[in-house]
């Protein structure tokens, strides 16, 4: 076997220019693929992190059916016992109780329908980044039960500014129509329409008073230690919480469109992978086929001397594997290195910041290479290099010695 490997190696190095071009093509394709995948993964990761951190959290616990049909009748009666369950799950790093309902917000000049959220300002700061998106004024503090923070666009629509009065009106849990006046404490500029145009934040106490929800909440938003731990955290929550009473939803279920967008990115990367593999296979096939055709006489001699067809197939496959593995190694290292370098430094796309912000992606993207993907792509390239070699290999193994030697 080693003799065939030695012959294969010498065949690869006997035409160094051709072999280097092939190795270079494989390396370039693979490096580009790994970098692209890292870029998309980095952008996706940023998008999900920003999106979940901004408002929804990594997961939410509701009364069963709340997600499908939000209403005060589906509120959680005993949040403190639920909170104790959360403390037992180590991957949960922050959680925040909320009350959510639709309401009408009015100024002297205009009115609009909004999503009214009652929050615990202290807990909420550990869970969401909304407090960092205050464009003017300030965020809610503990005890700000007469204050409201609203989106900038909403303020424009209502034609109100900081310290102006607005009235929030909604139907309470007991069926009564209730209204309270609030002072605008801050304006949010999150770059997302659903927040800037449709959100009004008040304290949890104020919401309970307004909506007649004493001691109750609508949801608990949860933050896991990392995005990678969300699925396991959700599974742990589902095991710990009575599924007949509560629903535990991950961000993928809360915002399926965001999840689908991420999946679309993966399909897109998969398509690029197929294209790169086609280019890589064509390059390797071309080189190995040329090499086999040039060495027809040599294969004829080997066959005449008693080399078995399977041994000739093995020889050609090893040659192809050497080319593929050299390209895969170089491409893998280059792709990983580029991803690592730009992952630390970031790629500044400030010129596209408006478009990127609308997808919750920052203007500096940090590519994120993961070992599993790099390993997978390198493995696939190696496999492809062997598979494509079967075409010239079978051709070489089927040569009739007398014809091949005669040329």
């Amino acid at each position: 076997m080693f003799t065939f490997i030695r012959i294969a190696w010498r065949n690869v190095v006997r035409n160094p220019a051709r072999s280097l071009i092939t190795i270079g093509a494989v390396a370039f394709g693979l490096a580009a693929l790994i970098f692209l995948k890292s870029f998309v993964t980095g952008a996706d990761h940023q998008m999900i992190a920003n999106y979940t951190d901004l408002l929804i959290g990594h997961a939410q616990v509701h009364k069963l059916g709340f997600q499908k049909d939000m209403g005060l009748d589906k509120s959680i009666n005993n949040p403190s016992s639920l909170a104790r369950t959360l403390l037992d799950i180590p991957s949960i790093v922050a959680w925040s109780p909320r009350i959510k309902d639709f309401a009408l917000i009015s100024s002297p000049e205009s009115s609009a329908g909004v999503l009214l959220m009652g929050i615990d300002p202290v807990n909420e700061k550990h869970l969401s980044t909304l407090h960092k998106r205050v464009h003017s004024g300030r965020y809610l503090d503990k005890g700000d039960d007469d204050k409201v923070v609203i989106g900038r666009q909403l303020a424009e629509n209502l034609r109100v500014g900081l310290d102006d009065k607005v009235v929030v009106m909604s139907q309470g849990a007991d069926g009564s129509l209730s209204a309270s006046a609030f002072t605008v404490a801050g304006l949010l500029d999150a770059g997302a329409e659903e927040i800037d145009k449709n959100l009004a934040l008040i304290t949890l106490n104020a919401a309970r008073d307004l909506l007649v929800l004493t001691g109750r909440i609508s949801e608990i938003a949860i933050k896991a230690a990392s995005l990678e731990e969300v699925d396991e955290t959700v599974r742990a929550l589902r095991r710990a919480i009575d599924p007949k009473q509560f629903e535990v939803l991950s961000w993928k279920e809360i915002s399926p469109m965001t999840y689908q967008w991420m999946q679309f990115d993966q399909v897109f990367t998969g398509l690029i992978l197929v294209i790169v593999l086609l280019i890589v296979s064509t390059g390797i096939l071309n080189t190995v086929l040329m090499s086999v055709l040039e060495r027809k006489r040599e294969f004829g001699i080997m066959a005449a001397l008693g080399t078995r067809p399977g041994q000739i197939v093995f020889l050609v496959a090893v040659e192809s594997f050497i080319l593929g593995s050299a390209g895969a190694l170089a491409g893998g290292l280059a792709g990983w290195g580029l991803s690592y370098f730009f992952g630390m430094r970031g790629i500044d796309l400030s010129a596209l910041s408006d478009a990127l912000n609308s997808f919750y992606i920052g203007s500096v993207i940090y590519p994120k290479a993961d070992a599993a993907s790099v390993g997978l792509y390198v493995g696939v390239v190696l496999l492809v290099s062997v598979i494509v070699s079967m075409i010239p290999a079978r051709r070489a193994s089927r040569l009739k010695p007398v014809d091949a030697i005669a040329g």
Partner: protein
Amino acid sequence: MSLLVEVNNVSHVYRKQRSSVETKALDGVELKVHAGDFMAIAGPSGSGKTTLLNLIGGLDYPTSGDIMVDGVYVNKLTPVQLAEFRLRKIGFVFQAYNLIPTLTALENTQYVAFLQGTSKKHRDHDAMSILKDLGLDTLIHRKPAELSGGQQQRVAVARAVLARPKIILADEPTANLDSRTGEDLMDLMHRMNQNLGMTFIFSSHDKMVMDKATTLIKLHDGRITG
């Protein structure tokens, strides 16, 4: 001496691809070769010498007739069985040497023995011994391109002999060599025939080669004429 090769009424026709033109290379050839023979098949170019050697060596199938080598009907073997047959029973020395260009003289010498599964230790020992006998022991690490024609042909003989085949087929082995080198090569093969009892069949139209042979077969237009 026991019968080693028996060629019974063998004909061979070449057909050009995508053409109906046929060339009859052999026409009803009958031949018997005994173990230990040092036989020359002589004849002008196009007389069918190479074709006959190719058929005996299992490099091609006859169009009709039977060829038995060491008790095996060569013409009835599959291509894979033929590869095994060539490996175990036949040694080839080609006119154009046909060494593997990426292997050194030592590696070329060992190649067939390697295919036969001989251990590296034995291969190294036997190859060095035979290359020394052939005066090539200082050239063992040279590749074919770095050897002269005579040196390459001696490596080819060493490769054929090292595998201990039943029969060595040498197709015009001296054709590309000068007369002195050619004669040395024939003496070398004759010594091996005498010392090791190996059977040699070589084709040639060189008078020196015919003179050295112990048996001479003449071929003309695909028929044995003497």
